[in-house]
Amino acid sequence: MREPIPTHDTTLPRRLADFGTLLEAIEYAAKGIRGLNFYSPRGELETSISFKEIAKKSQEIGRRFIHFGIKKGSRVALIAETNDEFVCYFIGCQYAGLLPVPLPLPTSFGGREGYTAQLNQQMKSCGARVAISASYMLPLLDEATSGLKKMKFVGTSDTFEAQASLKEIKNVALPEAHPEDLAYLQYSSGSTRFPHGVAVTHKSLLANCHGIGNEGMDLTEDDRVVSWLPFYHDMGLVGTLLAPIANQVTTDYLATEAFARRPLQWLKLISKNKGTLAYSPTFGYDICARRASPTKIADLDLSSWRVAGIGGDMIRSDVLTNFQDTFKDVGFRHTTFVPSYGLAECTLAVSFARKNTGFEIDLIDEKVLTGEKKFLKEAKVNGNGVNYRNVVNCGIPIAEYELEIRDDNNIDLGEYQIGRVCVRGTSVMVGYFEDPEATDSCLSEDRWLDTGDMGYMKEGALYIIGRVKDLIIINGKNHWPQDIEWAVEQLDDLRSGDTAAVSIPGERDEEIPAILVQCRTRDAAERTAMENKIKDTVHNMIGISPVVALIPPRSLPRTSSGKLSRVKARKQYLAGDLVFNS
């Protein structure tokens, strides 16, 4: 049986991403023996590729792009499979001075049109010249690229590589890359219909990779990443591919779709390869715990796991508690959890919790959340009858950042007060690609990024509460939509992701809450019963009866990374777009 590429490399001192460009980073990593291993859905090693082999293959691909006549700075859409080919094409684009744009794979049953429309919008918005996918995806890619006039090549890597022989490209000169050059575009923010590509420079990328390796992971010689995160998402791309390259860490991959079907395979890989660093949004820990049974997990040994990173969605402490209870007997230590905060507009990472502490919860008085009390310090955690909400400590901002919690007048509020989370630092994006209007809406002239998230600082640590745009203010009281949604989703027949709570103008222009609920039944009596239950629930919670709109299944708009877009949902609802066809 073949052995995976090892973790240890005594031949090459580790450098924590202190490189000018991603090319310098891969070429340094190529001097050692480390690399990437790709596993099958059943956990068998399928492909191993060392950083050295990646560098060599990528140079060849870079020459091919130039020989094919793709001009410097052009965008190359890559349907992001979890495989070595994606990695070599991504780095190959770097060698040719092109901007790779990782695009998503289908993730669920049905929805063909929505999927191809999403790809089409993303490729259109960046003016892609090339689109490459695996052969089995070509029919979908052809559909998605129809009508895109700028496209010069749509096909598989094999077809692309058949365009020229190795001999023909041998003498093609590769351009130099500079730290300020753009390295790639990331579509994980913004809505599906109006995508914004985050433009990331080499400099931003490496600054962030340094923060991840240095403060985030505090890398040691034994470290090994095990990941199922997709390469089309910032956490997968930067966190578990580019950061491992820039910090020379051997990484084992399981394809995202394999994880979704058999999540325990992720933990088996950690166990088998003595993985130390593994990341997931909260829901990944949730499905692992849900699928676990004593017999299924008896053979696991998770004691090597040092950093169980959490990020990418609102961190839910109940899920983490359940995970640690489920896996504590097979070596999982609760101190392994490392909550973090980040966003694609900051390349990836903003803050990491302190190591070896586990996740810390702050209980905050709802009166502070609703704006009735200003300072968190006033809220004492001892009274009965006071409603508290759990907020997870997302840790300390990495050193490159300045971070301020600001009020509506852009005044820094300091600690213990809730406001907008704003950051400035090297890994903040230069902007959304060719979209100055969207860029100006969140990035100030002096380079402060308004993350759009609300939160507070306490003893140097960041606590995230939710999105500022989504806040529902009723009679001067703030209500957090996720709290209302959570309560509604606890009702029978509803589940997580089915609802959106937004505020809409009432008859006298006052704000009233509207609860948009994806409803699968068409039975009139059942629908009325559901509406009434929802009204009661929300009324009990916020003291006002909401408008309830039952909308078709899967009609709530999501961002390209799958998060609910409440702003869009509100717009569509008010425009009358979210209705059942009778």
Partner: protein, 82 residues
């Protein structure tokens, strides 16, 4: 041994049973998301059961076209015949 479409359909329905909490009557036009109310994670659960039962792998590019049990049955038959 080749299985008929109806046999495959019956086998798939048997696998769906534990996921069919509302006892929705199953036929070839039953839609996974709407009629069975399966969310995307549960769909993946079901998918892994079906793959294990038939010892097949349903490639990702097929998923966007699989809205109904009937379409899924045909896809399984196609994969079995390959």
């Amino acid at each position: 041994m080749t299985q008929s479409v109806d046999e495959i359909f019956e086998q798939i329905c048997a696998l769906i049973k534990p996921f069919n909490n509302k006892n929705v009557p199953l036929n070839k036009d039953t839609v996974f998301s709407v009629d069975l109310e399966l969310d995307s994670l549960t769909v993946m659960d079901l998918l892994s059961e079906i793959e294990d039962e038939f010892d097949i792998t349903v490639p990702l590019n097929m998923l966007p076209d699989l809205e109904t049990i009937g379409q899924f049955t045909q896809a399984v038959q196609k994969l079995l015949s390959e």
